[in-house]
Symmetry: C3
Subunit: 213 residues, 3 copies
């Protein structure tokens, strides 16, 4: 009996040690695995933080680019300002003479984006702040004084003038003007002056935006 | 013997309990570690999903911006349309009179982007839909009728005319036209009319795109 | 005693087996958890790599877009070139005649972006390579020869001319020129010629950039 019990004790002891050994070995492997996982996880978390910073930077750049683009597109869209008109819509006629300077009202519309030119008043109104180019052309018959000036609001800018043409006379002038939104540009026939027009459109007025300001 | 065996048993029991205790403690530490790792991993996965959504949004915005940019660049590139030509390449000469209206063929090239103006025919062909500005200048000697009109395809747009100038006469006119790709613009000398040109280039024709449509 | 010892041994054995069992079960659960975590971590690391590649691509596109935008903005900014000037700042006067061709110095400034036109010399200097449009207008009184030419550096480009006007005469001409930065453009009054100007600004000179090259 004693021997049996002692053998059992010995076997139990070995089994116990084995179990403890296996368990410890197990723990040691698991521990190494955990350590590796933890390291990888920490690295992953670091990379994520970095990516978030990158994305934040990307978002900032992308937002700025998108805003710039919109402003360029708006500017490009705003650039599409032009009108071009002839004095008579049809037929042939002298215009003038008048006792006072009189705004010429051109009736034949070649181009008129967004109705910047008002064919009831003869006045172009600047839709945006910017630098614009304007040109006008006047035609007169012999013996008629031809005199036309271009006005920015109520200020004369440039003119054509022929006192007593011996035969038909053609005159043109033009100017680049810096306008603020709402400024009005028109042409005025001087007192005691004539211009002539017919279907050939000798007498005309044009303008367009060069660039917004 | 009994005492020895009992002592061994007691020692074994203590070792066993110790081992179990250590093992359980070990397990408990590992379990806490696992829990913490799992929580961090879950958070990381969430952040990743968020970043992916962000990237998706960024890609969408970036793609849209890139497309807009290309269209702006194409539009800007397409805007580079201009020509400017003088009637005679060299020498001095009267052109006309002819029995019928005749297209003026300008031979001195100042500017001609992408050959929009054809120096064999005198015709400008619109390379893109857009709003264009055209100008022409005519010079005649005394006693010669000067009459030139600008045509869009077969339709007269604007003109200069002097019946019988007493001395040299200069005339110019111009117009802003909305053209579709392929529209042709040219100037025609009227029947029984003259224009004069020499190395000083009095008689010329110019046009350029203001903006595409 | 023997029976007590044997019972203790049996109990110890059971406890031992239980402990080992629990420990192994514990290990098995932990092991499955570890495996799952490792798989998720690996997936996360893969997704991160993918996101980094995506971000790299996004950065490249965003950088390219940002560069393009800057070049478009610089081009748009560089496009804002225009001047427009009248001969006399005030009063009325004949200019000329001179023994030799003389640069006209326009004193009334309508527009002059970044001082591209020098009101001391009468010369416009191209601030950037590009295609420009220039126009000039001349006015003369009867019996005075009117003759003005536009020059690019020292080369004549286009002209207006009236030998002996019977009454006031208006002439205008213009040209589209491709210029390199630093090219100079001006107008010259011919020898033995006059131009007239007053507050109505008949005699003027304008130019603007159509597009950079």
């Amino acid at each position: 009996m004693k021997i049996v019990a002692l053998k059992m004790l010995a076997a139990q002891k070995m089994l116990l040690l084995l179990c403890v050994g296996v368990s410890l070995a197990h723990d040691s492997v698991a521990s190494a695995q955990l350590k590796s996982i933890e390291e990888r996880l920490t690295a992953t978390e670091e990379t994520l933080k970095e990516l978030k910073r990158e994305n934040e930077a990307l978002r900032t750049i992308t937002k700025a680019s998108s805003d710039k683009l919109e402003s360029i597109q708006a500017e490009n869209k705003g650039k599409k300002v032009a009108f071009s008109v002839g004095l008579l819509a049809s037929g042939s006629d002298q215009t003038g003479p008048f006792d006072t300077r009189t705004t010429l009202i051109y009736k034949k519309i070649f181009t008129n984006t967004e109705n910047v030119y008002d064919s009831n008043t003869g006045i172009f109104t600047a839709p945006v702040n910017g630098v614009y180019f304007f040109r006008f052309y006047a035609h007169a018959h012999s013996t008629k004084q031809m005199a036309v000036s271009l006005y920015k609001n109520d200020q004369i800018q440039c003119s054509v003038f022929t006192e007593k043409p011996v035969t038909n006379t053609n005159g043109s002038n033009g100017v680049v003007l810096s306008l603020v939104k709402g400024d009005r540009v028109s042409t005025q026939l001087w007192e005691n002056s004539w211009v002539y027009d017919d279907d050939n459109s000798y007498t005309s007025f044009s303008g367009f935006l060069l660039f917004p300001l």
